[in-house]
Point group: C2
Chain length 396, copies 2
């Protein structure tokens, strides 16, 4: 017999994932300035703090930290995450918290619990390409809801809820990926209200919550959720370490929590105890607030450098000016095609993600997502100048 593509599950057919993955392979080239990806700055990572913490938790807990753990998570981490969430304006009980292997897994478990092929999931337009891919693996129908500079448009959201009877809406309310925009407080209230009114679960993905460089912190959508329709996805990737893959989901409906736990049990049984215990120790020692304060200083400088770097871009370029997060989003003149220009840019030593990958329906080839957290200020200027050259040349 011959092995062929006919063996593959239908739900895996629409997933290529290749464009971005191919870019990522080029990023190892020496001297490459990468505005692609969403990596924290290496300077924002603390191996010198984490190394002794790792040794400490393993030595003090002993053999049980190397044994099987509960799918429901390492109990001390649930407690310290609970405190973190209350401080972050996420009202919840400890029993509503499930530690996950990154918030990617939170979304995956939610989809696994809910989605039959053909079910509708609403997303912002544009939205995080990783979430689009995860949704596609469940063969869901993705419906994109228009957004503006204050996030998803509630009237459009309501229209889509009425028309498509979705099970789930996926929203990144704060410093959205890719646009950097933040959902206004009125809209947050409205989203929570619509969720309950139409019986649509809302996944509130909030990994950039703590990365605010100016303005006031807004209440979470979850804080307006009276019945339990909002699932809050928290991540420690951007504030402690992405490589540890520790996040948490807050699920208020007990029957839904149970399905997520069962789903996790058959996915990876549990998140590794060592990484859970390191994050717990980090939180428990109160290291997070000072660390966040420190990294915000650097990130703000990097953001400003990137915004300044747009000076050489063609006239008519519209860009978001985010108050936080890791990304700047730009709409270039219509005749610029960032998808086509990527190879040229990479050859010149600068990488980015073409905006088209963030749209459920593709298109929008004149848009671009730029990450500033992963490059030092001088490299940001250098990279933006190179990028401006590539773009300007293409317009000649």
């Amino acid at each position: 017999m011959e092995f062929s593509d006919r063996y593959f599950a239908k739900h895996m057919e629409p997933i290529s994932g290749s464009a971005i993955r191919d870019i990522f392979k080029l990023l190892g080239k020496p001297g490459m300035i990468s505005f692609a990806g969403g990596n924290p700055s290496n300077a924002a990572l603390e191996p010198e703090v984490i190394a002794p913490l790792a040794q400490e938790v393993i030595s003090s807990i002993g053999a049980p930290i190397l044994q099987y753990g509960a799918t429901e998570g390492f109990i001390p981490l649930r407690a310290s995450t609970h405190k973190y969430l209350l401080d972050s304006g996420v009202p919840c009980q400890e029993s509503e918290i499930l530690p996950t292997s990154g918030s990617t897994q939170g979304m995956d478990l939610l989809l696994k619990a809910l989605i039959d092929p053909g079910d509708v999931v609403l997303v912002e337009d544009p939205t995080f390409l990783g979430a689009l891919q995860t949704i596609k693996t469940y063969h869901a129908k993705i419906v994109a809801v228009p957004s503006d500079e204050n996030g998803i448009l509630p009237d459009e959201l309501e229209k889509a809820m009425k028309e498509y009877k979705p099970k789930l809406a996926y929203i990144i309310p704060t410093f959205q990926n890719p646009t950097g925009t933040t959902l206004s407080i009125e809209r947050r209230k409205r989203v929570a209200y619509l969720a309950a009114k139409y019986g649509v679960l809302v996944a509130e993905d909030d990994p950039y919550h703590d990365l605010r460089y100016e303005g006031e912190t807004l209440p979470t959508i979850k804080s307006f959720d009276e019945e339990g329709w909002v699932i809050y996805l928290a991540s420690f990737s951007k504030i402690i370490s992405p490589g540890m893959r520790v996040g948490a989901m807050v699920v208020s409906f007990p029957s839904l929590m149970r399905k997520c736990v069962i789903g996790k049990q058959s996915s990876d049984l549990h998140t590794p105890l060592i990484t859970q215990a390191i994050v717990d120790a980090y939180l428990r020692k109160g290291l997070l607030p000072e660390h966040v304060k420190r990294i915000l200083v650097g990130y703000k400088e990097q953001l400003n450098a990137m915004l300044e770097g747009f000076r050489a871009f063609p006239e008519g370029t519209k860009l978001t000016k985010p108050q936080g997060g890791l990304f700047v989003w730009a709409e270039l003149p219509q005749r610029v095609n960032t998808t086509l220009l990527l190879e040229k840019a990479v050859n010149k030593g600068v990488a980015y993600v073409p905006g088209t990958h963030f749209y459920a329906e593709g298109g929008h080839h004149n848009t671009i997502r730029l990450n500033f957290s992963n490059s030092p200020v001088d490299k940001i200027y250098e990279g933006m100048d190179k990028l401006a050259q590539v773009i300007n040349e293409s317009m000649k």
Copy 2:
């Protein structure tokens, strides 16, 4: 609106998972002797070795170990796992290896890549209950193939391959869970041959491979696989640490490997770098062979104690005498119902898993799986005596 079970995906309906989970909750009671679970002995875990290793890998690698990693795995771990696999009689290229978050995830990724609702998956009868649960989450049709004391029956396997045209067969060839039996060498060859003949992928789950207390190591099914139909699932859970959740899958068809990588990308993005690096350092320093030699001594004593403990069991009890692994399986007289007796046993201070949970179709209430690795010898005698009492009383 009211949240209700109608929101859940159909594929999650048949999964209760509750019986075992409810047992596991009782295991925390002080003084409980647990023959349930498949935990390694605490004495076989080495926090004193792992703690400094953790510190060492984080300090020496620095910030990159805290950054995002590649879905394809931590490169040094792929290399050290490659050496480990070659030493274990698993011929493969490094590019065929995907580090996973435990071998549970390997099976999950394989199912995700292959299974549409209604597709058939063949399993041994009985088989690992965790695998049954994972297969059910993909809404596959499970067909159980009869086994005897030498493992799955090849003629029955061939019949099932012809009749059901399955995409996948799941087989634990060595010290099977739950029965402890080992597939004979002739049958291993035959399984590999049938896989290629009928074009059925075979998942060879081999977590107990190194835990042999007597007899000769047999070649893996994968070693007879000339075309690539066998996917080998390796685990470090039983020989280094289950709580670290590090395993690996060997996938020879490149297109299938790609689907598994894409599936992993949307499940947890990558296995944590810290745990991958710890396992890599452990292998690289050559600590495994000595460690395995040491734990085998203890496990063999525990196995013998458990076999001896059957002396007080009712006449007519048939038990397997495994040459390795972590479990003894017994068939008790027909009128004994281990499912019903569990509560009584737990109240008396001894726990086990009723055999029915390992059968795709249920039934077989007179069977029982007993784990010996997680209890010291004196507790094994004590627990077996208690269990014999509960069983004998039930027959009066």
